[in-house]
Amino acid sequence: MSAGVELDHVTVRFGEFTAVDDATLDIKGGEFFSFLGPSGCGKTTILRTVSGFLDPSEGTVRIGGKDMTGIGPNRRPTALIFQNLALFPLMTVTENITYGLRVQGIDKATRARKADELLNLIALPGQGNKQMSELSGGQKQRVAIARALAVQPQVLLLDEPLSALDLKLRQHMRNELRTIQRMVGITFIYITHDQGEALTMSDRIAVMNDGVIQQIGDGKAIYDEPATAFVASFVGENNPFAGMVAQANGSFALIETKFGRLRGRNPRGLKQGDKAILFVRPESAKLAPGSADTTFSSEVKSVAFEGNMTHVFLQGAGKKDITVTVGRHNGASIPERGSVATVSYDAELGLALPEGKMARE
């Protein structure tokens, strides 16, 4: 059984500091929902507010339609996977997994049965008597998940669970988690600063910065249609061209930048005179001339061959380089360092957004 989670104008303040500012969203039951953002953006605070360890300073949290105000973490239908897992070191694998059942007073035989079921689910059959100190990182992960699933929560909350694992294992676990979620069918709320994780695993993502939710949408929406400069620069690589709107007609805008006038889509309805940033993704740019308002030139600072791709770094307007990424068998000729290259892009792939704070490098 799974439940949806509603945040209704939730604000969480610690003294003078606002960790979460007026967050409103509606997570559907059975969804794999992620909060994505840099450290300190407020995603952990939201997780702890949903699980009941924090009370919101304003607003309400509803789980399955029920108002959770005043209900402590031990009475909410949620289970939390901690970042450091917080497994009980003095208990065996089985005792850890069945702890939630033990506090409910369920008898030993039933607990043993449940433990076996879950051990099979997480591919650790028969390992119930092992101590925590004997397990590997990945095994501990799975025990933590089994422990949470044992209490049959309606919502499972995961706090950057994969950040402590090494790369190969992380990718393997991404698939495992997604598979488990589909099998069990409950709502997963996942927080991470790694966009790769968020994009590959989630049904929908909420991008956060400085306590404010920037955008909510699925992976494609976040990547192709970022709503703010922060989302555009945080998710994936992006080249920003800052400037002012010289002309805006219909769905396109012409931005006056240091590289001349450049055109891009204008989904946010910017008007002439507005400060704006034009974003062009490295893979959307070509090393060939195009039409007048989608072409610019710059000096090539360095070239990096990465096997299946080549990155060309050109001098940007400020400290940040312009990146153009060319596929291996693209056919274009790679310019040399020091030469001046011409770059162009499809106007459809350029995006003009209102000026705003961008992701820190």
Partner: protein, 334 residues
């Protein structure tokens, strides 16, 4: 007795004040993580904790001290006279420390004992420090965990033997008919036995011996946390070994040194066993004076006054030392 009973109310007033302050603060700071005390521990456990802690801090610590201090401001009375008309507040007991009981001149005996105890304790602390520092340094810097553990064990085992027995064993060594004298006379080094005990040598040896462990542990902990690279760096820059200690190790280990020295000093000054068994017949240790007031004169009020003087002096000295060497109190408590 009414002036004494007032004492009983003071701590309750203090606790009530603290409780009110806590409620006030809780209302001011809106902390989303704050959970009430009874919420966190459950009603039963919460009450038990408060009960145990109150029993300890009030009835075993605060009230007895306060009561003793109040007692020191009362005259010496026979049991029947207590609560009667003679039971008034007075400074007579404190006066008796300074003024001789004949009424003229200073109380040379007691003041002398007091000054001797304090000075001797300081000397013992210094001696103790000099003995322990090298070992603490050696253990902290060059020991493998196993070596350190064995050394620790070797240090602790003698201390499981009671301090009385330890003082006794030193007496066996140092008495005029003791081992050292017997061996030296038999070997012909000396003709007549040396009176170690009468010269207070025994006392100093005994007191430093008694508290070696108390000095070693804080020293070891402090030096152990020093990054060995700092010493290497100093040696690299050409500093001789004594400068390394003076400029690098000792300043870093100051809180540990202060902690160890404070404990040794206070234990020495308040020591009862070593002076009783190892002191010469002419030496009078201040704590023995207090002991005698209780067990020979049954003069509890005067004993309390002297005890309070001892405590006040020790605390004053320790605070002075801390201020002198620029260490805060918080650092020493570790």
């Amino acid at each position: 007795m009414s002036s004494r009973l007032v004492v009983l109310f003071v701590p309750f007033v203090v606790i009530a004040a603290f409780w009110l302050m806590a409620r006030y603060e809780a209302r001011q700071r809106h902390d989303p993580t704050h959970k009430g005390y009874f919420e966190r521990n459950g009603m039963l456990l919460g009450i038990m904790f408060i009960f145990l802690v109150s029993l300890w801090t009030l009835f075993l610590v605060a009230l007895p001290y306060l009561y003793m201090v109040v007692e020191s401001f009362h005259p010496t009375l026979r049991p029947l006279e207590r609560g009667g008309p003679n039971d008034v507040l007075t400074l007579a007991q404190y006066e008796s420390f300074f003024v001789a009981h004949t009424g003229e001149g200073m109380n040379k005996v007691h003041i002398g004992a007091f000054i001797f105890s304090i000075l001797a304790s300081i000397a013992v602390t210094a001696l103790n420090f000099a003995i322990c520092y090298p070992l603490a340094f050696y253990m902290a810097q060059s020991g493998t965990p196993q070596k350190v553990r064995l050394l620790m064990l070797a240090l602790i085992v003698p201390y499981w033997v009671n301090e009385i027995l330890r003082a006794f064993s030193l007496r066996l060594l140092l008495a005029t008919k003791g081992l050292i004298n017997n061996v030296m006379v038999a070997a012909g080094f000396i003709d007549t036995p040396i009176d170690f005990l009468g010269n207070n040598v025994g006392l100093y040896v005994g007191l430093s011996y008694a508290y070696l462990l108390v000095m070693i542990f804080p020293l070891y902990n402090a030096i152990e946390s020093l990054d060995k690279n700092q010493i290497e760096a100093a040696r690299d820059l050409g500093a001789p070994w004594w400068r390394i200690h003076k400029d690098v190790v000792i300043p870093y280990a100051k809180p540990g040194i202060a902690s160890g020295c404070t404990m040794v000093f206070m234990l020495s000054a308040g020591s009862l066993a070593a002076p009783q068994f190892l002191g010469g017949p002419r030496t009078l240790w201040f704590t023995s004076v207090i002991y005698n007031f209780f067990f020979q004169n049954f003069n509890w009020a005067r004993g309390s006054a002297y005890a309070f003087i001892l405590l006040a002096a020790c605390i004053a000295l320790v605070m002075l030392m801390l201020r002198l060497f620029k260490i805060s109190l918080g650092e020493t408590i570790k």
